[in-house]
Subunit: 363 residues, 2 copies
């Protein structure tokens, strides 16, 4: 074990699960969250009780804090496990605290996370040697089930990883692979950006069930009940646009259906059937209102950067555009302006060849 | 009573209700439908038993037939009471049977009905003296409740009427006003076209409840349960586009909320509250599937002609465009191609001033 210390920024479901699992694997784990109430239960309990399909037991952490400076006092691999809309805030806060060879992995980056993160670090004068990368998905299906108690329901057996620029991927992958052998190097951050499947499976199923969600406070199963034949057609229309974009940018990908089969062992032909064969989805309820990350994260930090990148690639995205329009209207937000647009990702003004060079070389 | 004979084309809910009510008012009524099964119950019963809030009693009709030639044998005011997607078929069939001064009113015309109807009549060589007009809504809220039995639950107290061209409106209004004194002459067919409120209140509430409709076969109340706060935002967004279009073309209109208050006596501030104060909507269930006129009529014969007219007017319609895109995808139809586009309405190539002249003068 070359890496001794892992610094996890974010103490939500994913952050606590990773903190506990990594600590139980023998690492020194530092857990940070901006909000006192997020870490208070862990402090009180003196650690995290982990249950479920991964490691089980009581995990003691090296440090639990709301003080970012304190969290970064000693060197370690930094894992950012936060909703994508919090990435910019953390990047701003962390920039002055970083050392020349620090390594940061957004896990996951949503779409364009590493691009945005690095742009902010540069603007804030962080050392140029800092490495930034991202995964395309959260490693666990997990939930906080009580104060200081976390359950892991599923572990992905493949984790795509890319750094920005891509020439940094191998050096960044190395420490992560020690912890998660299922981590694999991908072409570049366009892979992780465009293989973010959340916007595909979350946004239209929420929009096409809005009335049901609001009339019943989400009293139905999101995937099992809510993704009917017609709703699935909208999911597949958005997924086709995403795949066209991957093809245009020479990024490997799977269709939503193939992805369900490969990573969840789902079976079947039509999408509703495939989703209903995914046991991990069986108990997932619909969100209780429109105030859900299925919209507040997956539209501005998922669909918006996808359509922005599609503009550079010259790929039409009418279904993604529609979803952004409708979500913006019901949320009272202008997600094209406030979301991860080309400017936020530092990609404004690039053409397709320049974009491909940028993600590879960084310039 | 100058008009003696009324010929009603279409024996659905609206056609049967109008046939019965008009017959009970002392007119000779001919009822035609293309489908044997539509008129068989009326033939068998020897007329229509009318109940509800309008006239009540047993209405004997002068003639009930599936033979259009037979229906038109004697002269009379022709009322077309059919789903909008059947207008073109009837126009084709009726063209060779018309007399020089026949008068036809589509009731309602949906959006662009009279324009399309007249274009087909001209192409098929109908006499140029034939007058064609339309109403903006069906006069009744009504239902066939048994074989030869119809119930009228509500009667609109205002009916907008316009002929194409508008110079024919007064002569066409005269016989209709004898029957329905609440009929009023409007500016031109752009009024009736753009004051078709069905696409506004039907399309997004169906799309934003797709999962609920398909998962429960529409087992919820369409207006009372399905139009929640967020769904209402989409309704109002489409309604704003419709009103912008009216303003651009100098057509009087009311907002959806004002319309609910004026014609249904609804009350309240926010749209969900207003709709839930409309007693006529209390028992209206959601459609049982996506195969509903709320999509199959209101998209191709409502939203499509609206966005087509908006192109001439230079008014952007992103929400209507989105609704057409999503509905086309789930129905497996290209509604922009198959719906009432500029070509179908005979408006292709016109600019805004030419359009305003066309609806006024006919050339």
């Amino acid at each position: 074990m070359k890496t001794k210390r892992i610094i996890i920024l974010g103490a939500g479901n994913g952050g606590q699960a990773m903190a506990a699992a990594i600590a139980l694997a023998g690492y020194e784990v530092v857990l940070y969250d901006r909000f006192e109430e997020a870490i208070a239960p862990v402090l009180q309990r003196g650690g995290i009780e982990l249950s479920g399909v991964s490691a089980q037991g009581f995990a003691r952490l090296a440090k639990v804090t709301t003080d970012l400076k304190e969290a970064l006092l000693e060197k370690g691999l930094i894992l950012v496990v936060l909703p994508a809309f919090a990435h910019a805030y953390i990047a701003e806060q962390i920039a002055p605290l970083l050392r020349r060879d620090d390594m940061i992995i957004l896990s996951p980056g949503s779409t364009g996370g590493a691009l945005e993160f690095r742009k902010i670090l540069a603007e804030r004068g962080a050392p140029t040697g800092v490495k930034v990368g991202e995964t395309n998905t959260l490693i666990y299906a997990c939930r906080i089930i009580g104060p200081g108690q976390v359950k892991i329901m599923g572990v992905k057996d493949y984790l795509g990883v890319a750094a920005f620029p891509a020439k940094d991927t191998e050096v960044l992958l190395e420490p992560l692979k020690e912890i998660y052998p299922q981590a694999h190097a991908e072409e570049n951050v366009l892979f992780t950006a465009l293989n973010n499947m959340n916007p595909i499976f979350h946004v239209f199923p929420t929009l096409a069930n809005l009335g049901w969600i609001e009339a019943t406070q989400g009293n139905f199963r999101f995937y099992y009940d809510g993704i009917t034949t017609s709703v699935a057609k909208l999911v597949e229309a958005v997924d086709r646009e995403r795949m066209m974009l991957c093809q245009s940018l020479r990024i490997s990908t799977l269709s939503g259906i193939e992805w369900q089969k490969k990573f969840y062992g789902a079976r079947g032909d039509a999408l509703p059937e495939v989703l209903q064969s995914n046991r991990a989805y069986e108990e997932i309820q619909a969100p209780r209102s429109k105030e859900t990350r299925l919209l507040t994260e997956d539209v501005p930090m998922g669909l918006v950067p996808m359509v922005e990148i599609a503009k550079i690639a010259g790929v039409p995205t009418p279904f993604m555009d529609s979803a952004i329009l409708l979500a913006s209207e019901i949320m009272g937000q202008d997600y094209r302006a406030t979301g991860r647009n080309l400017d936020a990702m530092g990609l404004a003004g690039l053409n397709k060849e320049q974009l491909l060079r940028r993600v590879k070389e960084g310039d």
